[in-house]
């Protein structure tokens, strides 16, 4: 029987090793898999490369993982945090590496990685500092740069509903990077608000087919990052 449901959050992330690359879902707090990130902090993996649109907020979730010194490199489009100096201070101190990628290129690189496309050309960033060192090429009179597909060892993603096959439905804009990150990871780990029986998610409404998901864990009442930040909470 296919059953991707894990009994606990720690069990779902236990084999993330030092040096792993993690795709972490979320745009701002929407879709941020905060419980999974905290479990990675507890679990102890170091020297991580993290792919996320941002660099975390306050002192919880991704910002806490960075503050704990576990992240060697961040690949993201907008590493300015709200209510957080964590990334900025480590970056200025030369203690964390940054690969800055335009947001749409980041999304497309992840989607390409998941789709078996090793590289593609895009008009984004042509003629800018972010195109430096990249191959440039003209198609039909317009200039493009070559970008590489991006894959990772793990994805940490938050979804709304899932069945034991790993079929996912999301909530509103919390969908953001979730579907493509599940595609691009060797092991996609998903925290869901509600586990449902197979068939309860209409086959027409499955956003991420289960084939892209390896592990599920139910988190019925996930922490709300903005509330934690407003309270000045920190993790651990």
């Amino acid at each position: 029987m296919i059953n991707k449901i894990r009994r606990s959050i720690p069990e779902a992330v236990e084999d993330i090793k030092d040096g792993a690359t993690l795709l972490i879902g979320g745009f701002g707090e929407a879709g941020s898999p905060i419980e999974l990130i905290h479990a990675v902090i507890d679990q102890g993996a170091r020297e991580l490369t993290v792919v996320n649109n941002n660099a975390g907020n306050g002192q919880v979730g991704l910002a806490a993982l960075i503050a704990a010194g576990r992240v060697r490199k961040v690949i993201c489009s907008y590493p300015r945090s709200s209510h957080s100096r964590v990334f900025t201070e480590l970056y200025r101190a030369g203690k964390i590496e940054l690969e800055l990628v335009p947001q749409g290129t980041l999304a497309e690189r992840i989607r390409a990685g998941g789709a078996g496309i090793p590289a593609f050309y895009t008009p984004t960033s042509v003629g800018t500092p972010l195109a430096e060192g990249k191959e440039e090429r003209e198609f039909d009179g317009r200039r493009y740069v070559l970008e590489r597909g991006l894959r990772a060892d793990f994805a940490l993603v938050k979804a709304e509903r899932a069945d034991r096959f790993g079929n996912l439905a999301y909530n509103k804009v919390a969908r953001n990077f979730g579907p493509i990150m599940c595609m691009a990871a060797e092991t996609a780990i998903v925290q869901v608000r509600r586990l449902v029986e197979p068939g309860e998610i209409d086959p027409e409404q499955v956003v991420t087919p289960g084939v892209f998901v390896k592990r599920l864990v139910e988190v019925p009442e996930p922490l709300v990052e903005s509330e934690l930040v407003a309270q000045g909470a920190s993790y651990p």
Binding site: G28, P102, A107, T124, T128, V173, F177, I180
Partner: protein, 230 residues
């Protein structure tokens, strides 16, 4: 008259947004950058229906919800709460930028630090050594939207021109800006450089030229922007 008021020339920020809003056609698919461009939505003439796109995977959103009804999973690219209008849709990030890059967004209105006479735009980085660089979706938007309009003060806080011969800040994109809605006028970026289309009340062409860092073509007949009090 307070010092602040005395310093301000031409249109107010709201009037600038109003002027840009007049040019958004019925049915347009529009992406409004974070900050002043967001004001534009408030001044679209009645009877025009626009579809607003947000990079984080949302099309067809409406104004912010009443206080207390915010949903942390219903936000725009500026991470501010929004509402849904009938006909809205959600999609993932790669699809969202496929819309942008694939030319499916009619107009994107952005702020800018500098715009050059050839349409180059700089709006993401001062290039300062100690700054943490951050680009977001700006480079994708300028490369992909069918029309890029800049909504910006004509000069920096220090009075330096933002419309320049050549950008000194790191570029966001090359040759992409079509129009600039500033507090002093409406400027088109043409094949030959900046071209003034309309001028704000209380400003002379000479004053405007003095505050512009590149040659400005001025037509014989120059309409004045007739904005309401805002």
């Amino acid at each position: 008259m307070s010092e602040t008021q005395a310093k301000r020339l031409g249109l107010s920020r709201k009037q600038m947004a109003w002027r840009a809003a007049q040019d958004l056609q019925d049915g347009a698919v529009v992406n409004l950058g974070i900050g002043m461009p967001e004001l534009v939505a408030s001044y679209v003439p009645d009877g025009r229906e626009l579809l607003y796109h947000s990079e984080n995977g949302l099309l067809g959103f409406g104004p912010p919800p009443p206080a207390g009804q915010e949903d942390p999973e219903l936000i725009n690219a500026g991470k501010k709460p929004v509402t849904l209008l009938p006909g809205a849709s959600f999609f993932h990030h790669a699809d969202s930028f496929a819309m942008i890059r694939g030319g499916h967004i009619d107009v994107c209105i952005l702020g800018a630090m500098q715009v050059a006479a050839n349409g180059d735009i700089a709006n993401w980085s001062t290039g300062a050594a100690d700054a943490v660089p951050a680009v977001g979706g700006a480079m994708d938007l300028v490369a992909g939207a069918r029309a890029i309009w800049v909504l910006s003060e004509h000069t920096t806080r220090d009075g330096a021109p933002k419309l320049v011969e050549q950008c000194s800040y790191p570029l966001t994109g090359q040759g992409v800006v079509r129009r600039i809605y500033s507090n002093l006028g409406l400027i088109e970026v043409s094949e030959t450089g900046f071209r003034l289309l309309e001028i704000a009340p209380g400003i002379s062409v000479e004053e405007l030229r003095a505050l512009t860092g590149a040659p400005l073509e001025v037509p014989d007949s120059l309409p004045q922007i007739d904005a309401p009090e805002l």
